[in-house]
């Protein structure tokens, strides 16, 4: 997950929400995600979901 998805994959996801970004938008989003996704991976390790029954 640490690598940002490709522009084509980002476009596909955006379109499932009815949003149609430009190529420039997707490049800007990838720059954000390049920083955010590794941090989010760490966050999931820090705050794992509760075990079943907890």
């Amino acid at each position: 997950m640490a690598e940002p998805p490709s522009p084509a994959e980002l476009r596909r996801i955006a379109e499932t929400h009815g949003v149609t970004p430009t190529d420039e938008d997707l490049e800007a989003v990838r720059a954000f995600l390049a920083v955010l996704l590794p941090a989010f991976e760490e966050l999931e390790r820090l705050a794992p979901p509760p075990a079943p029954g907890e």
Partner: protein
């Protein structure tokens, strides 16, 4: 002139509400062409409202005081633009709850203040209305997102203002503009009639000259609003009456990592301010707050998708009308997986528990409001300990921890570096506004940083 002093003068009949409004309209006319703090000035309406006060029964605590509000806060009959092309001809029929409370206390609304588009950025440089300029150095930003509020107070273009803060939007412009700003506890002040950024973090609060001014404004707008589901139903202390209790015996925890990581001259100014608090009787203790390290990530995991949800319909139909930076931030929220947002919510609960333990050891936390000086307009790069870094990244550890846990934070001016203001942040436990204001007031009684004015502001 401070809001408190002006309010006393109005009550004493030293000037009329119309004269007060005319004073600020003259200053706006003379100075705002350069500063661009205002998006809309309600000159005729404000004069009429000032005249009507003479016929009103009763005189509230803000009787005749001219104030202005950030342009995400609804004022009936005046467009709310959020500094965006997305909101064209959006004229609310009703006042926001906070504006209704201001009017109830006798305040006159001068106008709507510039901001970063949709309050979603820290520079106040929208392409629709242009950048707000820092009165201390007009080639620099005011910070944001409430940049117009900071500039208006610094240049004395309003006696006080209301702004909003999601991840630093009151604190950053207060710091960069050399004025006093309070982010109240989340839920302390109604958000009804205020455009949201991320509702679980948003807080309306004052930016004004002094802690006393902020206390006067907070006393009017704080308190439960049954029409706002995020509003807390908790008693509201008498903020102005508690201001004079001083800091003797207060335990102030200096957040060591945030002081050490700030640019050296900023850290020196903050350390000098903390020494002043110690000389006034506070007990100063260095503390480590582990949540500082991860708070930004946790807030972003929740805030990005929350903000995107607010804008979803406009993202589908008006995407090209957003400025590029705000458009990118809003699009990012589409790509935050639900499991990351859930992890963020769990981490926020853990952070709230952690900060509760910290506030069992100290009464307040202290840190630089911002670790750097404001960037030049057109640049997002700032210098931090000899390195060039992105402004939007350096602000996160100084602001997100306190937004994440919903704590009140006041920023007070505490020095000048290269002629630009530096701010001290005092953080309290949830609903501890009275304590942060009391400490800020004690600091301001002993120092004059809050009285320093930019050269431009003194030209009238």
């Amino acid at each position: 002139m401070s809001l408190a002093r002006l309010a006393r003068g109005l009550r004493a009949g030293e000037l009329s509400p119309r004269e007060a409004v005319e004073r600020y309209l003259r200053r706006i006319e003379a100075l705002d062409g350069e500063l661009n703090a205002y998006i809309a000035v309600r000159a005729e309406e404000a004069l009429a409202e000032a005249d009507a006060l003479l016929r009103a029964r009763g005189r509230g605590s803000l009787w005749g005081v001219p104030v202005a509000v950030k342009d995400v806060i609804d004022v009936a009959g005046t467009a709310t633009t959020a500094a965006s092309r997305v909101l064209v001809d959006h004229v609310p029929a009703a006042d926001s709850e906070v504006v209704a409370r201001l009017r109830g206390a006798g305040a006159v609304v001068l106008g709507k203040l510039n901001l970063h588009e949709f309050a979603y950025g820290a520079l106040t440089t929208s392409t629709r209305f242009g950048p707000a300029r820092n009165p201390w150095s007009p080639d620099r930003v005011c910070g944001g997102s409430s940049g117009g509020s900071g500039a208006a107070v610094a240049a004395d273009l309003a006696a006080g203002t209301l702004a909003t803060d999601t991840a630093g939007s009151i604190r950053i412009p207060s710091c960069y503009c050399g004025v006093t700003g309070l982010r109240p506890s989340t839920g302390r002040v109604s958000n009804r009639g205020v455009l949201p950024v991320a509702p679980s973090f948003d807080a309306v609060g004052p930016i004004a000259r002094t802690a006393e001014d902020c206390a006067l404004l907070l006393a009017v707008v704080a308190g439960h609003d049954a029409g706002d589901p995020t509003s807390l139903d908790e008693p509201v202390p008498q903020y102005t009456e508690l201001l004079g209790e001083g800091v003797r015996g207060l335990r102030v925890g200096m957040v060591s990592s945030l002081v050490e990581d700030a640019d050296a001259p900023v850290a020196e100014a903050v350390e000098a301010a903390l020494a002043e608090l110690r000389s006034l009787g506070a007990e100063l203790v260095p503390v480590e707050v582990p949540l500082v390290e991860h708070a930004g990530t946790v807030q972003q995991a929740i805030q990005f998708p929350e903000a995107t949800e607010v804008h979803m319909e406009w993202l589908r139909t008006r995407l090209a009308d957003y400025d590029a930076d705000v458009r990118a931030r809003l699009l990012v929220g589409l790509f935050v997986p639900p499991e990351v947002r859930e992890a963020g919510k769990r981490a926020r609960e853990a952070a709230v528990d952690e900060i509760r333990l910290v506030f069992e050891q100290v009464d307040l936390l202290a840190a630089p409001t911002m670790p750097v000086l404001p960037p030049r307009i057109g640049s997002e790069i700032v210098e931090l300990r000899g390195r060039e870094v992105l402004h939007r990244l350096v602000l996160i550890p100084y602001n997100s921890p306190w937004s994440l846990v919903g704590s009140p934070v006041v920023s007070v001016p505490c020095g000048l570096v290269d002629g630009l203001p530096v701010g001290l942040a005092l953080v309290g436990p949830r609903l501890g506004e009275a304590t942060v204001l009391r400490a800020a007031h004690a600091f301001q009684l002993a120092t004059d940083w809050h009285e320093r004015r930019p050269v431009l502001a003194g030209t009238l």
